[in-house]
Amino acid sequence: MRVTRWGTGYGLFAVGAALVGLMVALAVAAPLIDRYDPAAQGVGPALAGPSVEHWLGTDRFGRDLAARVLHGGRTTLLATAAALALVVSVGTLVGAAVAAVGSIVDRLARRLFDLLVAFPVMVVALALVGLWGPSLATALAGVLIVLWAPFARLSRSLVRTALAEPSAVAARALGAGRWRLLRYEVWPRLRGPVLVLAAVEAAQLIGVVAGLSFLGLGAQPPSAEWGAMLQEGRAALWSAPHLVLAPGIAVLVTVLGLTCMAEGLRDMLDRAGQAVPE
């Protein structure tokens, strides 16, 4: 009984997965659910509050907010997922390769990873966006430059510890080859922590992209993207709070879901006695 768990990790993970799943399902089903074109102006009165016709109200151009939040979810979630897939695969592979090569390469790479991991994502994204012009793609590119490093660092250390595990040593002594070691000894120890980190970073990614958009440096109007919608809505935080609340809650729910998933997974891994990434 070393580190006790906060409740059952599984429950937390399930709640998180349900929240994220809900957001993804809504985004996927957006064209089926929405009753208005998200880009169509004047489908309702400008800045109207939630009503039967417009569930979440309308924005200053009289666009249906519900449709925009749904379609915004498509942009935000798809962009996040794509970016995440890229950093996870690149980071994990680089980390594993470095760990496998070892020696000086490993030591240098470790320093680089440590630096990049500590480097503020926001600053890189900010510089890139500021200099290359604001757009979702630039913002994401800025994020990607830095965000693969945590995965590389994690997978590097996991691969190294996994190879030093008694079961891996035993497998080597029994004559298991490189691929068998990777498949049976390394991969099971890698996947959980990487998943945890992916959930954490996904949450961060959404936060950073929304933050950049909030500063007017991310996705640009008129695209329906949560961060951009937040920026539009910020001005009306008091006169028409629903403008911020709708995308704000969408971001909050997604980030909360991802964080819960990460926490739950962390608990479950922790119970299984596995390394847990920070």
Binding site: M1, R2, V3, T4, R5, W6, G7, R111, L112, D114, L115, V117, A118, F119, P120, V121, M122, V123, L126, A127, L128, G130, L131, W132, G133, A203, G207, V208, A210, G211, F214, L215, L230, R234, L237, W238, V244, G248, V251, L252, V255, L256, T259, C260, E263, E278
Partner: protein
């Protein structure tokens, strides 16, 4: 005697650290320069776009004027040459002069660095203080109702975007306490952005500290100390605290990075005259010397703080150094 050993080890770590840090900074400076110079448009474009002089000049005159200005700013040379000149000056601690104000960047950044450091430091203290409170309350009865409640609080704090918290905080603070929305860096203005920053960085620290505390409380030495009659307070402060804090230092880099990231938004929202706020405006003006100095500053701070944390960790927990010696 043990102390001296610890200091010697720390000195060795510092020496190793300085060497790698210098290497990293050099690589980083090249990346920074390349990144900044590869972007479309330059300061001359921005200036001429703003001044509107082009409406009053013939195309030839404008071209001549632009070339003249580019020459003044040193932008007419090749990028590698610009880099060499820049690096040459940087190693002599001259970060150049701002295109916009014509002032030395070092002066420009000077008091902003202080303002940013004050904000970051205060934010860090808020984060650490609240994390300590939450973690020690949680660790008292792991799995108990208070633990769960505090965990929910942490999760919520992670999910609330900084800008939302900042905007809301600013609005209400201005309405209720007459909080100065803008102005110079002052104690009166510091607390609110510090709280916003701190709340954002708190959950990660709290989680680690909680796990660390629980783990240390469960170790045989803690048990043995209790068996020798140590009171709960003595157990916490004299036995458990130091080992529990040590792993936190490795997290400092991450905390720092999240603080810097959050401070970009926080400084803008609170009009806090710090480096991030300055950088945001310099970036849009393509004020290269300032942008380069800012990026380099962030890299340097990240490198130095992480190295410093290594050293601090060696001092706080000499076991680390011990393990490193054996492994080396």
């Amino acid at each position: 005697m043990a102390d001296r050993r610890a200091w010697t080890r720390a000195a060795a770590v510092v020496a190793r650290g300085v060497a790698t840090a210098a290497g990293l900074l050099l690589v980083a400076s090249m990346l920074v320069f390349a990144l900044v110079r590869a972007a479309p448009g330059d300061a001359v474009d921005v200036e001429f776009g703003e001044s509107g002089a082009s409406a009053l000049l013939s195309p030839e005159e404008e071209a001549a004027a632009r070339a003249q200005r580019a020459r003044e700013l040193g932008l007419d040379r090749g990028v590698p040459e610009q880099y060499a000149r820049w690096l040459d000056r940087v190693v002599r601690l001259d970060l150049g002069t701002s295109f916009r104000t014509g002032r030395p960047v070092v002066d420009e950044l000077g008091d902003r660095v202080a303002a940013s450091a004050a904000l970051g430091g205060a934010g860090f203290l808020v984060a650490l203080g609240s994390a300590w409170l939450i973690a020690s309350l949680s660790a008292r009865r792991p799995g108990g109702p208070l633990d769960h409640a505090l965990r929910l609080l942490s999760l919520a704090a992670t999910a609330v975007p900084t800008f939302l918290l900042g905007s809301l905080g600013l609005r209400y603070a201005a309405d209720w306490f007459g909080y100065p929305v803008a102005g110079e860096a002052s104690w009166r203005r510091l607390w609110l952005p510090a709280v916003v920053l701190g709340v954002g960085a708190m959950p990660v620290v709290a989680r680690l500290l909680r796990a660390s505390l629980i783990s240390e409380y469960g170790r045989p030495y803690a048990l043995a100390a209790r068996a020798r009659g140590a009171s709960p307070a003595r157990l916490t402060f004299r036995h458990v605290m130091r080992p529990a804090f040590a792993p936190l230092l490795t997290l400092a880099g991450l905390t720092l990075s999240s603080l810097v990231a959050a401070s970009v938004i926080t400084e803008v929202i609170f009009s806090w005259p710090g480096v991030s706020e300055y950088a945001v405006s310099a970036i849009s003006a393509k004020d290269y010397p300032v942008v380069q100095a800012y990026l380099l500053l962030v890299v340097a701070v990240v490198v130095v703080v992480n190295r410093a944390m290594d050293v601090l960790q060696h001092l706080l927990d000499p076991r680390v150094a011990h393990a490193a010696d054996v492994a080396a």
